[in-house]
Every structure is written in C-alpha cells, then in structure tokens.
Symmetry: D3
C-alpha cells in the first residue's frame, strides 16, 4: 500500500519559463528512458517478485521513489508553461504570443489537451507505452534491464541539462542525474551479489546448459561477405565471461536448407496460380515442376 | 549494403505442426524480446555509431545475423500452420477443424491476415513497435540494452522450449538459445574492453561528475513508512561500483516544497471557479435532486 | 513524495489458480477501464492542478490509493498462475499441462515474457497506453472523465465477478467494487460543490457564451433521412440543463458550401491529370488488355 | 445505412492560410478529444445498443452529425495549407518558404504523407487510436463517457479559438463550440431521464448492492502520511449521492497481508538463486529462511 | 454532410451465435483489412481531394457505403454473442458457460469492456489505428492503396466464410465479398481512366523524369551472393511498363562509401572512450573478476 | 541467411547539415511510406511465400536491397545532425544554438534519445509500427500492396526532394526515386505475368465466384441523397475489368432490417432501466412496448 506527503523530493524552481524546454522534459516523463517507465518497471518487478524477499522490498522502495520523480518533472513542465516570463515577452513581440509559445517548438497538446500542464507522453507527444515495463521474472535479466533504463535515463538527463540555462532547472537535473548514478549501481550490486558474470551467465542460468547447442555458444559469427575485415576484440578471443568456454571468430555459413513451404491450402485463398502454377500468362514457370 | 543466399542459418524442421506453438513463436519474432527488435537495434546502433569503427562493424555483423533468425522463426511459424498433422487430425474430430486450429488458442490473424504464415507481431498479435529499437549514442548504455535484449530473449527461448515436444522445434531452439548465450557475453565483453564498472560508470561517464549533486549519488533512498524494515544488501554498504563513493542507507525525506502552480491563465479555459475560487464550498446542488 | 508499507490494502486470496482468470484480470490492470489508468489520471490531474488546493490534495490521495489497487491485482494475477491447482490438474490430463494452461485461453505473455506474473497490458495483451490519462486542466471536464473511468471500471469489476467462482477472488472484487462506488460519487460530489449543472455547464464555463453561435446551442440535430422517426426525449424539449436555453428538435440541413479545394500545388506531386484535368474521361486503357 | 449530400454542415472559410493552425486543428480531428472519436464512439454505442430503442436512434443521429464535423475540420486543414497567403508570403522571406511552412511548427506529414491535406492523427501526428471508442454496454457509463468527450472537446475548441485570428476559422469554431454545448447536455439529459444520481448510481445499478463490501462504499480513503491534512469537502461528509449511505473520512490502513508469492516454477527459468536462495556470493539471505 | 436511415444495407441473421466467430469478425471491423479503414480512407481521400471533382464525389459515395458495412459487422458481432444458442448450450456443459464463451477462444473484451458487443479493434483486440488511413494526395497512389485494401479485405472475407457454417453469416459474407469485387475494380477503373500504366507510371508522374537517376530506373538489383540463382521473369526483361525503358538484371554492387560519421559531439554524452578512442583495446577488466 | 559489406549502395553526402531535414528524412525511414516498411514487407512476404519459388526469390532479393536503403537514410540523418555547418552557424546567432537546432523544427529525440542519430520512427516521432507489414498470403493482393508502398514512397521522396537544396541530399534522392520507379513496375510486372486484370481479378481469384452474391458484384452504389448528382465514369458503365460482368450505377437502398438486438443479459451489467425499460424518471418509453 502507498502513501504521500504532498511535498517534492527535491525543490523545483523555474526562473524563466520556457515552453520549448517543457516539451523536451516530456521525454523524461513519458519517454522510453523516462520516469513513468522506471517507476512502473520496478513496481511490476516487485509485484511479481518470486524468491528472496529482500529483492522485492528493494524494488518496491525504489519504484516508490520514482513516483516522486514523475511528480517533480510534471511540476517542472507546468512551471515552464507559466506566465509572464522573459521567454514569453520575447515571443510577445510576435503577433500572437500564445501561438508562438505553443506552436513554436513546444508541444501543442500541453496547451490544447492539458491547459498548460504535463502529459503522459514523450517529447514528440507519443503516449507512454506499457510494453516498455520489463518484468521478466528472471532477476538477472531484470537487473540488466534496470541498468539500461538508468543508463539511458541519465544520458537523457545530461542532454536535458544542455538544453537549459535556467538555474532552477539545472539544479533539479543535478539531483536527478545523481539519483541515476546511484540507481545504475544499485542494480549492478545485485548482479555482484548473485556472483557476477560467473554467477549469473548465461541468463537464465537455470536452463540446463547441456540442452543448448554448445558448438555455437561462444562463436562470434561474422556475416561480412568475402573481402570484408572481421572486427576483432575481446569477443573473438579469450575465455567466455561465464567461464565455461572460449570465444572464437567464425565465418557465417548456412547450416540449414533452403526453406520450401507447402503450397497454400485452399481455404487460405491464395491466387489460383499460386496453387497450380498454371495459367500464368505467357510464363512457363519451371521452378514448380 | 546487404546480401542473401536463401538458405537458413540452421535447419528448421517441424514434425507435428501445432498452431498454438505457431502463436507462441510470434513472441520471438515481433515481441519486445524478439528477433526483429535485436536485429533492428543492432543495425540502428551500427548506422548511428560514432567513435571507434570496430564497434560499428561488430554491430553490423551481428545485426545481419539476426535477420537470419527472423527468417528461421518465420519459417517455423509457417510450417507449424501446415497440413495434415496429428494435431490437426485431433482437431478434425471437431465440427470444423479449421476453426479449432485457428480460434482454439492460435493467432487468428495468422490465418485471416496472412493465409497461414508469420506476422510482424507478438504472441498476442500486438504489432512490432519501433520504440523498442534502443540506440542511445552512448556505447555503454547500448551494450547494457543489448545484454537485456539477449537475456530476456534467451529466457523467452527457454520458455518456448518447454511449450513444444516437437524434436525439430526443440533442435531449432537449442541453436537459438546457444546464440543468445554468445550474444549476451559479446556485449559484456565490450564493457570489459571499456574498463568494466570503473571504466564506464556512471553512464555516461563523460558528464562532469562535479556537476551532479554528489550528496545523493550513492544513497539508497528507503521510502518505506515508519515500521517497515529496509532491505539491506550490497547496495546499502561498501564502496560504490564506480569506485568513487560509498553506498549508504537513507530514509526518504522531502527536500522540496509543496508545489503551488500559478492559477490557470484565461486562455486555458479552466472552470471559472478554478480561477476565482468563489462559490465552491458548501454549495448546494439543486440541479439533480 | 510517496511511501509504501509493503502490505496489501485488502487481502488477496486464491483458492483455485486459474490462468484464464489471470488473463481476464489484466483488463483491470492495464485496460482502458483499469487501475493503471485511474491511478495515473488522478496523479497527473493533481500534478497539473491549478486553482483551489483542496482538489489537488483530494486527487493526490485517491491517485495514491489506486497504486495499491494495481498492487492487489498484480498479486492476484501472479497467484492465479501458480502451482498445483485443481485447474492445473484438470489440464494435466492433457499431453502438456503447461501448454494447456498458457495457450488454452490464458495470456501467453504472462508466461513467455513475465515468467508467470502480471503485465502492464490489458486482457488482450495490448500494452497500457498513456493517451488514456486524461488531465484537461478543466476541473469539471476532469471530474466527468473520472466518473467515466470509475463507471466503466465498476462495470468491469462486476463482469469479472461473474467469471470466477473462487471465494478469494470474489472477496477481492467485492472490495474493489465498493471502492468504485465511492469514487464515482466522490467526483460527482465535486460537481455538486461547483454548483451542479448550472454551476458548471457548458464546460468550460469560462468561455464567453456570447462568442458561441447561440442559434444552435440547444438544437438536437436530427440526421435521419425523410421518413425516419426522430427519437424524442428530454433532449428535444424543456429547458436546457445549464438554465440558459430551451432544447428543440431540428432537422439536419447543410448551412455550408460544397467544399472546393485549390488544385494541388506542384510540389505536392499529385498525378499530372489532377493538375490539368486533361485526358481523364473516356480514356481507353490499352496497357492491360 | 448512411447517405451524404456533399455540402458542409456549416461554412468553412479561411482568409489567411496558416500551416501552424492546420497542425493544431489535427487535435480536433484525430486527437483523443476530437471528432473521429466522438463520431465512432456514438456509432459503436448505437450499433451495440440493447434496451430502449430510442437511445439507439439518438446515438445514431448524433454519431452521423459528427461525420460532418470531421468533414468540416478536414476541409479547414486543407484550406489552411493552401496557396499564396500572407503567412506564406512572410515565410517566403526565408530561403525556402516550403520548408518554413512545413517544418516551422507545422505537421510535416501533412505535406510529406498527404500532399497538403488532413491526416487521421492528432496535433503531434499520433494516429487516431480506436481504444478511445468507449461503448461499455452500460447506458449511464456511456453517457458520462460522452459528456467527458464533449467537455474536453469543447475545451479544445475554445483553446483553438485562441490560436487563430482568422475570421473564417473563428466563425467555424463558434459553430462547433455551440454544438458541443448541446451535446454535453444531451447526454446529461439521458441521465436525468434515467432518474439522476439516485436512478443511476452506483453504475452499473444492476449489480446487487449486497454483494459489494458495503463497509467501504462511502469512505474517502485518505492516504496522506501522518501530519498531512486531509482535504475535506462534500465527499467527506453528508449523504452519498446514491441516497444509500453517508460519506466519511477514513485514514488509509492495510487490511491485507504482505504478499508472498510461490517460488518460481522451474519452467519459468528464473535465475537459480531465486529458486534456491543459495550461492549468492558472500550474501547470507535470511529473508528466505 | 451525412444522413442515416437506421436500416441495414443487407440483412444480418445469425442462427447459431458463436463467440469465436464474433472474435474473428472483429478483423473485418477494426483490422488493417477491415471496414473502418476503408471507410475512413475513402472519406479522408475525399475530404482532401484536389483536382477533378468527380473523384471526390466517387470517394464520398463509397466511403459512405462503407459506414453501412461497419454497421452490418458490428450488428453481426453483437448477435453472435447472444443468448441461448446451441454453442452456448454445448458450453453450458462446462462449469461456467460464460467463462467458456468469453475465454475459450473469444475476445474477452467483447464481454469485459463492451457488455457483449463489438469493439473498434481487430481479431486480437488491437485497437483500430488511424495510420492505416492512406490519403496521399496523389490519385494514382491512392487508387492502388484502395485496391490493396479491397483485395486484402476480400481475402479476409473469404477466409471468414470458411470459419462459419451459419447460413445467415454466410449470406452476409456473400454480399460483402461481392461488394469487394466491385470496389477492387472501381479503383482500377480510375487507373484506366488516367491512361493505365503509361498514363500513370511512374507515380507520381508529375515529377520531372530527368531529375531521377535514370541509370537505375529499370534495373532489377539482385542481392544474392555468388552462387545464388537470380529469379527471372517479366521484371528482368522486356520494355518497362511505363514505356520509357527496358528492364534488366543487374548484380548488386555498392556505389557508395563506407560511412564514417563524425565523432560524438560533447553534448551528446557518449562514453569518453568513444570520443578519445583511448584505453579501449586490451583492457583488463578487474571489476568483475 | 544474410550478409553485409559495410558500404553504402549509393553515396551519401551532406554539404550543409540541416536538423530540420534530418527530421523530415525520418518519414522515409520509419514512416508508413518508408524503407523499414517495404524492407520488412518484402521479407515477410518471402518468408511466408507459398507457390512458385521464383516469387519468393524475387521478394528476398528486393527486401534485402531495401535494408541498404535504410542504411543510407540513417546515415543521411546522422550526417544532417553534424557539426559546424552554415545552418548551425546561423542558429548560433541565437542564445543556445543546440536548443535552436534540436527544438526549432527538428526531432528532439534525435538528440535526447539517440545522441544525434536516426530513430526507428517517422517524421513526427511516431515509432515504426509492424502492422504495416502486409503479407497476405495472396500474391496479387501483396503485389498491389507493394505497388502502393512504392507509389507513396516515391511521392514521399519527391516531396523530400523539394525540402532540401543540399546537392548531396538531392543526389541521394535521385537514386532512391529511380529505385522506386523500378520497384513500382516490378510488382506490376508480376500482375502482368499472372494474366493482368482478367488473370487476377477478383482477388482472391480462387474463391468460387458462384458463392458471392453476383447481383451486386458490379454495382456502383450511389449513397447521395435525392438531388445529389452521381459521379459517373468508367466505373458506372462498360464491362467489368475481370471480364465477367458489366458496371452499372445503382442508388443505395437498404435491403436489410432495422437491427434489434436482444436485451442485455444480466451478467453484462447494463443499467437496470435498459433491461426493464421501467422506472425512467418521468419518461414513458413507448418504444419498448
């Protein structure tokens, strides 16, 4: 169960409202790298957690923190859309300052649909999409998913930092960037607890290794045509990270057949010619014979 | 530029076609853990790669391999929808075996929209969605994103392995599972090349650390209310993984204000009462009595 | 800022796990009538609230309650996917009980993508979609949107009630149905506070009424062709609910012109014939004969 | 069955074509508050209507009217993208006036995909999404859904009114705003016919009230932590609107257990450590014992 | 402007309601091959039509007919979900016939969200998506798009015909199949009016041919690697269909460079190593050993 | 199986990077008319091809070519986002040139999410959507779908040609436009091989014509109300294109009944009034009697 106190986790101040920045901030709310995604991802991972209870609790605590980040960012959007600012005054030189504010690089739906507030969408107005809520039931897979979310999330926050000169906004981002620093490492700390690469790889580590086709488990398959140089690196030599094999470089080569599907069944209503091969105007199709 | 040879990377055989399994396989084609996603993700990361050329090449090679995986799986779907099989014969006991095959746990669109072939969708018929093609421009973030994709992808393949008894299908999955084993470690090998945790964290490592609010960079913020036990682990103590701090446990506490937005501007067309605050409390509604 | 205690708002018990019901429950999590939607809708309305503070607080409190409803339902899904139940035993009579459980009317992704847990999707596996998070900035519009959400939400919960015989699940739904009873009336109570129909209509009531084309503000426009009987009711006669007019029945009739757009501009690359109008009629097509 | 006459319901005139306004108008076509949604919503409610025939007819008539609104708005978009206007001339000062018109705040797809015409999308180019077509089968729920659509729709139209100075566009919007005034009240008139709050609440009113957990049916559950003031209002006191209870204020408190899911089943392929709790490097997990 | 008469274009009868068929029918309503798509596609093409008026009128008339097809199919869905049928009686042998009807191959949302009626979705419950409403502003492109829609639409209707034994449903489909026969040819008749292949190709025919790179305008580029046989046919020899060239077979060969993007700019926050290239190879990762 | 050589099919040069054009180019990558769509469409048609092998091969070869087009366009996007250009210098006059570049008509996610590279999205940032991958299993339907894709694709490329003055970009588009010229005709050549209109129509031609309702197979149904002139053309007279009938003009007229659905079943939880018709406040509903 959940509770609130109505205060922001960290102060949100905007000295110079900027509708363009309000649009950019949407990416950190409803974008694939945004806070709605991490919030829901950690909560769903917690709600479905099986196994040691402490991971459920850890996820619940951080998922709950992330709601507060959505709150901060939504507040920041609303404040960037407000009132008589230097940005707006500059725009006011134009015929219709509202048009300039809303249609001149801002998100028109922040005005049209929300009356100057945040949306559950990204910086292009694409609605938040629940398919980005990864909760696989495998703890290691989920931890890497969380690291990804925090790594792209921190990159996003750093890029937003470059798009604003507002001291309040920069201050808020400094806080969020620091939280992402922690969260990246928090999930990697779980991987460490699980034994690092050797303790977790290959993910899932509960699938019997003998069931996989071990012949190709450590091959870097190079698909370049003749004459192209294969890219070499740690992945083409040395022991595999799971400690169970040796990386090697292998040129791609088909092991399988040329696929030949059955002809269309009558109820699939292909064209007659697909079924008979006959009657193709002036064309003798020898591939069917 | 790209080329093909028309052969499968690994043999695809189906002894007993099974429309239900054909539906489940869709997840490995168009699902968020599927091959369309990894294929396009690696290709887009390659197309946008900046920096050392070898990573671009490595991504290109593996992205190209993944097209062959889509090909294998799409072939497997089509073959599972074919002809006179024991499954179909069993279904034939019913009034209309086609109905049973298509509507009895299968994906109706494999018949209705594709005439018994694969779709660019997941196991619930949700179309493939390009927002899952992560290519952040940050190599470390992308590598973790790729590990995630291969970890959830291998979990998916293992689960599919449990849903079929067909020797041909199990054989194909053994191959795909092994390839995922390699690909997980391939991307982690890049992290190793980049210097591991200390070389890459916090991601992006090019943002000046002094700009972030270091006070909270290693705090595990515990949002449980009073009386709830905080989950302890590697993330609440010991040196941070980037080697620059010390983890600690901190109880959540608001540092920010209670947000107070400006009143609605007239052009936002809120209700009058929101703007005036008048006449709102103790109002007797007579219109509905 | 937000907090958690790790306990469920109301007990969730499942006596007979039922994967089909686990699929149906998804609608109450990620469906358009579901808890993710109301939760986020109330929170975003709160985060963007302008005007009297008490509405922001009220929204925040109830939005926070709804997180707990997601938690209950996600727990219920996970429990319905568990272990050795009579349903599973019945299924076990089949060749592969896992196949039967997952593909026989269940959501395959609860297994394939989540390892037997809830998804952020609806009962057809369609991901939660943030465009359903309505927060218009107009308090009356938002209240009606919330009533709608709780009315369709309660209908959904009642229908789910019919799909299960499990006493634990029925008990949980009794609780959720009762909460929806409250929430419907909570938002209508705000309308009452705002002065009911006369105090709020037409929404937004801040737009100067004289600016609208009053001639048609209370006309029920009947678009039936000649000979069709117009449906009569409260909407065709009597005073309008806003107290400013009189309803009447009016037959549809065009007041406007037949639209005639300008010809295509050259850079739009229409077909030449669209631009010249030449050679279009009576043309004999010899290319295909 | 349906018919057309090729004329507009109300005149659409554009004196000064404005590509930015053409983009904003898209929200009223394909946005969640737009005409495609209400049109299809009323038609689907009619097509699925069960019970008194007059409601089906009423919905059919108004759904049919809304097609004409799409026609008007699509025409308005096309006209705003046309020819030699003062806006375009102003833009013509730039190097490439087409670039300025299309990429300077307009919707590039109106040119790129439609050759200067309307799309079935919103103001951010997000395609119309059929999940917003609410038709619940419950008349009262549907009426509130329709009120919501017309309330947000009228707010949208009023906001669009502020974004244009074109007399033709303002005139068209005056008409559409007036129609929304009517349509809001038309659906509320049905609620009145059904007996108002007491006749319809709780929705659905056909669910046996005794089956719900009446103890919590009129509780305003306050989730603020200690020290936060609960928001009071009509919803915390007085008789409930359905006339069957009394509102009261109740502090949130968990009635349920701490959820404890079963361990992962082997076929779900969690990490081994999730199943055994053992072998976590250097970590003694006591929560499992 | 539009009108209705409340009658169906063709009788809809259902002798034996079948919830599975009700699900399959959804594809013909909200699927990519369905009636919502053609209806809106023809209407949007009409609304944006530029050039000879008769094409606008033709599109308007047929777009209006298609609304009646949605009406028929939505009615058919609702009737297939009804009452005491042999199918339902058969299901009634099960513990809970409603569960069997709704979850046993049907669309659960037809019950859960619509109370036994049609949705604006496809056979997998994926909502109708406005991006399939093609209206390019180029008449020939649009006509081919319409042919595609009617060709896949007729294939769909034929396949639905195989999924039902109900005489009423078969009769309705016979009508819809016949209408698709007409509509396919109606759009092709426009191509004939425009002068057939030579009159319309290449589409758009208004782009100055000399501006395109004529060297490759009639080459069938064969991307098979060495040893693979090129597929020969009408497309590898003979005059091009536009009458302006000669088809030929050409082996794929890169004409372009190996792309080399600029290094990441600092504000893009790549990893430092991407910018410096330093310390990347032969690095020993000690953090994970 | 697939291979690459790392070189571009045709040179991609950008003299003057232009972030606005980088946004417009996205439509040709991830838009409905774009290269991801044709690439995947041809590959999926190949993977599911049944019948004469040569069509599978032809599709495979061209699908593989299209991957190279995505590569070219993604490279073009990345190069348009680069460095010190005259466009950027002009922007540099502004306070923050990065803001101007990213938010002034560009796609903010190319910076925020991709660090200055291409996305798998369209020009409005809407992610690529797999439902546009048409592969119907009917060869003729698929060929028309491919013609449509190449016709709208070529129109798009022509329009992009107008949005740039960069010689390198114009050169690249000249190449792509020429390839679309070929591809349009390649698919029409298959139709010719299949016997043209008479050999393929009605699609699918394998459905027994006698099963369709031949009475309406060649009727142009005119839905205009009395007084509106029917649009006449090749579609209202002359032999049908399939050679089996005669077109004619017919006024729309309902052949079907007024639909009357059964009352709501109790478990659907309509409002009580819908089931009884009674108790509607003050309203005597005669339509139910």
């Amino acid at each position: 169960m959940f509770y609130y106190d109505g205060k922001l986790q960290y102060p949100v101040r905007v000295e110079t409202p900027d509708p363009r920045f309000a649009r950019a901030l949407q990416q950190a709310i409803g974008g694939v790298e945004g806070e709605m995604r991490v919030c829901l991802q950690y909560l769903f991972q917690a709600f479905g957690a099986r196994g040691p209870k402490k991971y459920r609790d850890m996820l619940l605590a951080t998922g709950t923190e992330e709601i507060a980040h959505i709150e901060m960012l939504a507040t920041a959007v609303a404040m960037n859309l407000e009132g008589a600012s230097s940005t707006m005054q500059e725009a006011a030189a134009k015929a219709n300052p509202l048009v300039e504010a809303v249609m001149g690089g801002g998100d028109p739906r922040q005005y049209l649909s929300a009356g100057m507030a945040a949306l559950a969408s990204d910086a292009n107005g694409v609605p938040f999409d629940g398919s980005h809520v990864y909760a696989s039931g495998n703890l290691a897979a989920d931890m890497y998913s969380n690291v990804t979310a925090e790594a792209t999330g921190r990159a996003l926050a750093c890029r937003l930092f470059e798009l604003t000169d507002d001291p309040g906004m920069k201050d808020m981002l400094r806080f969020l960037i620091a939280r992402d620093t922690m969260h990246q490492q928090q999930w990697l700390a779980v991987i460490e607890e699980l034994g690092g690469h050797q303790g977790t790889l290959p993910i899932p580590n509960s699938f019997p290794v003998k069931e996989e086709l071990r012949d190709v488990s450590y091959d870097y398959v190079f698909t370049g045509i003749e004459g192209v140089q294969p890219p070499q690196g740690r992945w083409t030599q040395g022991p595999s990270l799971d400690g169970m094999g040796e990386f090697r470089l292998v040129a791609a080569q088909p092991m399988g057949q040329e696929p030949m599907l059955a002809p269309p069944m009558p109820q699939a209503y292909a064209e007659t010619q697909q079924m008979t091969g006959a009657g193709m105007s002036g064309t003798k199709d020898e591939s069917l014979s």
